[in-house]
């Protein structure tokens, strides 16, 4: 009998510590599949960040360095400048990337660092207990917006994939979701495309994953996935916002 499907060895076989219904596990799985498909394990340096995303290194079996909060793109830049032939990716949450790490992500993208950024947007601070993030939807109640996020006090949720796309250094920018099978399949295809962008040396690639945080949203796993579909996707549209080809560099 021919085996057609198995756990990629890049995904470490241990019980997940993430909350039931959290999407980190699915995103880890896709990341491991992409590393496996392109045979990247032996040449990958991953950069983990601060927040729930830090635990990437407990699940993905590659060389990893842990960055301070928001600084993963700068750490990855250091890695990239020393070993230009390796595969380098960061894995960051929305508090990490879009709040405290905004300067590092913009300049890294603008330099066109040939790295891939996996951005997990669950619209809230997960590990610290559900505070408002720059990505929190208007009206959404969090631990620090008990009356709901109000634009006059807290500004607006930021759309990172669209925000970074116009920068010259950005070769690929997209937003995906993993709330249902069809979106998961599309997400996999797009993540593979981002990895390919780096492998082909085209420059900075960015994939934003909309992700559920049932614990801090106060919802069941099924309700949380539904919230991604009904509330997040309307504000954070899925799609590819930038896609450079080799010919664009001529």
């Amino acid at each position: 009998m021919k085996q057609v499907f198995s756990r990629p060895p890049e995904l470490i076989d241990i019980p997940s510590h993430f909350c039931p219904g959290c999407h980190h596990g699915l995103i880890h799985r896709l990341t491991a599949e992409a590393l496996n498909f392109y045979g990247l394990r032996k040449k990958t340096i991953a950069v983990s960040s601060v927040g729930c995303s830090v635990f990437l290194y407990n699940y993905i079996d590659v060389d990893t360095v842990e960055a301070p909060h928001g600084r993963a793109p700068a750490v990855a830049t250091g890695v990239r400048r020393v070993l230009p032939d390796r595969f380098v990716f960061t894995y960051q949450g929305d508090g990490d990337l879009a709040a405290i790490g905004m300067s590092e992500i913009i300049h890294c993208a603008n330099r066109g660092e040939n790295i891939t950024v996996i951005f997990v947007n669950n619209s809230i601070y997960g590990m610290t207990g559900g505070q408002m993030a720059p990505t929190t939807l208007l009206g959404m109640k969090t631990a620090t917006t008990p009356y709901g996020r109000n634009f006059s006090n807290d500004g607006y949720p930021i759309r990172m994939a669209e925000f970074l796309a116009p920068l010259e250094g950005v070769a690929f920018s997209a937003r995906v979701a993993v709330d249902k099978i069809a979106n998961l399949r599309r997400a996999k295809k797009i993540l593979f495309q981002a990895f390919q962008t780096q492998i082909r040396g085209l420059g900075f690639s960015f994939v934003e994953f909309l992700s559920a945080c049932p614990t801090n949203w106060g919802l069941s796993p099924v309700e949380a996935a539904r919230k991604v579909e009904q509330e997040m996707i309307p504000y954070y549209p899925l799609g590819i916002f930038k896609e450079k080809k080799e010919t664009d560099h001529l």
């Binding site: 360095v65 700068a74 750490v75 250091g78 400048r81 020393v82």
Partner: protein, 355 residues
């Protein structure tokens, strides 16, 4: 002799340091512009590409130190340089490097603070440099050059210590030492160092590696902290460096570092002509502090005068090192434009306090 002549150059402290870094195997520099250390990045942006290295001007000191962290995680010899305000921004990254045991060289050609302060020479960053600076329970070896020659020599030592102990190392210079031009004798460049066994390179035919400072499991952080403490104790035992000048027969000792020690040497010669038997102890490593020689000297001298270009910081370490009951006095010049003490001024203080 002729061979040695070839190794003599006339250069500025900042350039001597940058030159030495390359000769010590440093191939990567990340930094952000600030006065008075501009010659270091300018030299390296010109010279690093010639030896296959990379120079990158970062968007901030926060980014610089994290680029250093990333490059250092690969086992590469890497450095950054800055001055007070920029070093403050780097403290987060230095703490993470210490916690993750990632080596790297951070140069502080210090200026006056607090805040924007000024660009005149100062030793006001002594506490920040020697007390860890960032959050958490760690130490950073700190080297204090007293001349352009030492800017050169201590760059070699800094990389040695950084890799031997897997730690960030700081060189704490000042604007005078950085800008001063004099003769520097160069040495042979080091051969390329072998890659350390912890370096991240990609898990090719081996288990994957992880460099981190987060230790959440019960007892894990305590174990790591005590392991690091053993390392700091070893550094304190093996690595203190200092210079003694005319201490053999001295009744009085001046303790000063950096540019102040250099001025104090001339003051001591003046004082000796007046019959005051004074000597100088100059800490070269500020951490580890030269506790033992100060303890020994304090047992036989009549008085110690600490001279600093701040309002009194190193004097705390002298008090902790000297025997209880030792007479320890402080003479300081508050940093600011034109406030470098003259040799007559320090000699006058010696006359007043030691006579």
């Amino acid at each position: 002799m002729a061979e040695n002549e070839d190794k003599k150059i006339f250069t500025r402290g900042n350039e001597a340091l940058a030159m030495a870094a390359i000769e010590a195997g440093c191939r990567y520099y990340f930094g952000y512009p600030i006065t008075p250390q501009g010659e270091i990045p300018e030299y390296l942006s010109r010279e690093l590409p010639k030896v296959g290295g990379r120079f990158l001007q970062a968007e901030s000191e926060i980014a610089s130190i994290n680029m250093l962290l990333g490059a250092g995680a690969l086992g590469a010899r890497v450095m950054t340089s800055s001055s007070g305000p920029g070093i403050s921004l780097m403290q987060e990254g230095i703490s993470y490097m210490a916690g993750s045991e990632i080596p790297g060289l951070i140069v502080n050609v210090s200026r006056c603070g607090p805040g924007l302060g000024g660009i005149a020479p100062s030793q006001g960053d002594y506490f920040q440099a020697t007390r860890g600076g960032g959050h958490g329970d760690y130490r950073t070896p700190v080297l204090a050059p007293g001349s352009p020659q030492e800017m050169y020599d201590l760059a070699f030592l800094a990389f040695d210590l950084a890799f031997k102990y897997r730690t960030p190392v700081m060189i704490l210079a000042d604007a005078v030492i950085g800008q001063m031009k004099e003769q520097v004798v160069r040495r042979e460049p080091l051969p390329p160092a072998p890659l350390p066994e912890w370096a991240l390179t990609g898990a090719d035919g081996r288990a994957s590696r992880l460099l981190k400072s987060l230790f959440l499991a019960e007892g894990e952080l305590e174990k790591q902290t005590l392991k690091q403490l053993d390392k700091y104790h070893e550094i304190e035992r093996r690595e203190p460096r200092w210079e003694e000048f005319m201490t053999e027969d001295a009744d009085f000792i001046v303790i000063a570092f950096g540019i102040i020690a250099r001025i104090a040497k001339s003051s001591i010669r003046m004082a000796r002509k007046q019959g005051i038997k004074a000597g100088l102890l100059r800490p070269i490593t500020l951490y580890p502090f030269p506790v033992e020689p100060i303890q020994k000297l304090s047992a036989r001298v009549k008085k110690i005068l600490v001279v600093e270009l701040n309002t009194g910081q190193m004097v705390d370490d002298v008090r902790l090192s000297a025997r209880p009951g030792t007479g320890i006095e402080l003479y300081f010049r508050s940093p600011g434009a034109g406030s470098l003490p003259s040799l007559e001024e320090i000699a006058g203080e010696m006359e007043r306090r030691f006579r």
